[in-house]
Symmetry: C2
Subunit: 438 residues, 2 copies
């Protein structure tokens, strides 16, 4: 604990200095330090990176009292500033959250290191040998909202993938994040890694975000985590590529040939397992041949769980009390116990609806028909496409990535849950023996 | 020939219509048509795509007289407008260029189809099976300068990778490109593919470029091919992701432990094989322990071939007549018979120079030392990194990609020569049997 207090003191001084500094100059400094640390980290041994991750886990485990105390300051300020219950909940570092942070670090340490992996090395007719080597992206800027546990999760993924990172958490989690930063710094130092491999912006000034997303010389990619408005703003203003997911308007399509029990279980789970998450179903599409059988069963479940239903005319005729959906409903990510339902003619109609209104996040078909399952997998162009499984599975842990830094709905680079591989890219390597081109 | 003339007539009418239309509305129409054609193309069989590629090759082979005549119009106009000899050369559809276009189409037809490939499908503890499927990006906008053969090369790569494309060639190649467009349209139609799978902008109005790079609803990625100023402008103004290479300031580093014969052959080839290409060496770095042996040999070769040398002070002391390089030289992509030379202490100094002045295109080390070769491969973060081979090998054909749509120096998505794989990305697929998340 003594050493942590020492680091905290330094951070506090640093933070005070920032207050007097120009934000632009401060962010430039962070960028330069990150670029230099990133170059070091890119060539660091796997063992040393794992050592740092485990050291950070240990420091956090030894510092729970201190972290909780710092978190209390944020919670108190949050209450005084009128934060709502959900935000206060996200802000809280409970014993369970702290343990999850520690477990997460150990899990990332246990994952295979993607950096430096060489694939496809094969000889060409000219005699050169060509392959690809996986490399860190360099420096990653992460901008997130209230959850302070993101600080540790994001730092762990960046560290393991050989990327330096600059983290900008929500101002309401300022004390928590600074205390976590001190733990990370201590772990990095213990393992002999550069102190600037993970930097947490030590000012609550919002101008820091604007500077971070335009630091094109020093930052290679921006990962925003948070609400749609944050991500839209960042995407518009950033001069650096952004790995983003804007929204998750996820669909389940229950086909004529669906198994009724599976259809009910999946449509229930996809909507009601958790409401406020991006992989929750927002629109249910049902083939007209099966609607009369499956919709009344589902309507009972949704009614019991308090889910408001908004349907097309045909749906409303099958479900008493269902509200008529408007055009806006098909484009809505409710993140709430509300569901829109549309009866469609069949798979073509369903795919048309998804193409038109979906956000290319996650779509599932429920069917026992081989050919339709195969068509849905090929023709639906979302970051995750599923057959007979709940959209709630679209998640880094569930996919075996170990952890994720976000879910990308963009088409280039990484789509779906972004784990270690999404934080790297491939360069070509060529091995010759004095070869020249003729 | 009769049918080609028919298509040409239609195109000419179309082009005339464009003149009267609003450019914005015209580009919107192309975008909508491309999106719809792209959805069709994404699910088209490999066999049918190959059939279209071979049909286009056949139509071009049958239309050389017509294509040459149309090309003559452009060449005549170019001469009248004072185009320089190099531009006129690039603009010319010679029998050799035409044959290369035909061969290119047949080669792309022979390449494996990347679309729909499923990889890594494995079971997770929850019971779901997770893998990834390779998908087309959707719609690709390509903006290029005078070479009309790019029209065919780009169309072939997009077609095979399941992407619709909108091509905007240089206004100086307008007639050539429209004649090629007619051949492509005929081939598409013969194979039963959507006519809008490949669209060539039928107006020379420059406003079309500004519209194309902001058609975010319909275009997924922009590939600019051309000079640095074109690419910089497009990158700045585009609201769509751009796959670009800005410049190729490529380095060869001759290490102390280099084999002299290999070093001389590689440094000669990398500079003098072709001057105006992005993978030509622009700066030669030489370890001080070997400079006195290798530089005089190279200086003789360069002198014979008329290459102007600009060196650091130490280099100038070894090479009589060498001009002193300025800071600007280290940042210059000459694309000309000019070479900057710097003597460095060793590999660390060389990598520092590359990090500072390079453009992350292609870098090569010449060494017989195992450890230094391994370090250079890992620590130099360029799109291609080579050991004992000429930078001139950084090329889609040489790497076995079949063809390339450009060379990317960006870090996200595709780095280096971009072939069929770079025009696709991976989505996740999940196979379940009624699985829900607990």
């Amino acid at each position: 604990m003594a050493s942590i207090k020492r680091y905290n003191t330094r951070l506090v001084n640093y933070s005070v200095n920032v207050g007097r500094m120009d934000i632009k100059a401060y962010m430039q400094t962070l960028g330069q330090q990150a670029r230099s640390a990133g170059r070091e980290l890119g060539k660091t041994d796997t063992g040393k990176k794992n050592q740092a991750l485990l050291a950070i886990a240990e420091v956090i485990a030894d510092s729970t009292a201190h972290l909780t105390a710092e978190n209390q300051k944020d919670l108190l300020a949050g209450q005084q500033n009128g934060l709502d219950a959900a935000s206060l909940d996200r802000l809280t570092l409970s014993p369970k959250t702290l343990q999850a942070m520690i477990d997460g670090l150990r899990q990332v340490a246990a994952l295979p290191d993607p950096v430096g992996e060489i694939t496809g090395l094969s000889f060409r007719p000219s005699g050169i040998q060509v392959g690809q080597m996986r490399m860190p992206l360099g420096v990653i800027g992460i901008i997130y909202e209230s959850r302070p546990n993101v600080t540790v999760d994001a730092a762990a993924l960046c560290l393991k993938s050989g990327n330096a990172c600059i983290l900008r958490g929500g101002s309401e989690a300022f004390h928590s994040n600074q205390a976590i930063a001190a733990c990370i710094l201590q772990g990095l130092t213990a393992a002999g890694l550069p102190a600037h491999a993970v930097q947490i912006v030590a000012t609550a000034d919002r101008a820091a975000v604007g500077e971070l997303i335009t630091l094109s010389e020093y930052v290679d990619v921006i990962v925003p985590r948070g609400g749609k408005s944050l991500i839209e703003r960042i995407s518009q203003e950033a001069t650096i590529p952004v790995i983003k997911h804007l929204d998750g308007i996820c669909h389940v399509y229950i086909d004529d040939k669906a198994d009724i029990a599976k259809a009910v279980a999946i449509a229930d789970n996809a909507k009601t397992h958790r409401y406020g998450v991006c992989n929750a179903m927002e629109t249910l599409l049902v083939a007209e041949g099966i609607a009369a059988q499956v919709l009344p069963l589902l309507a009972d479940i949704y009614r019991t769980k308090g889910v408001e239903l908004r349907g097309c005319a045909k749906t409303c005729s099958l479900i008493p009390g269902c509200i008529r959906a408007t055009e806006a409903d098909w484009r809505s990510e409710y993140l709430a116990p509300i569901l829109s339902i549309r009866i469609v003619e069949g798979i073509d109609d369903a795919i048309d609806h998804i193409n038109r209104y979906g956000s290319a996040h996650t779509e599932a078909i429920v069917t026992e028909d081989y050919t339709l399952a195969r068509r849905f997998l090929r023709e639906v162009d979302s970051s995750s496409v599923m057959v007979n499984a709940s959209t709630r599975f679209a998640d880094g842990f569930e996919y075996g990535l170990g952890a994720e830094i976000g879910i990308s709905t963009a088409k280039l680079h990484a789509r779906g849950p972004v784990g270690l591989l999404g934080l790297t890219s491939l360069k070509y390597i060529v091995l010759g023996d004095g070869h020249i081109r003729h």
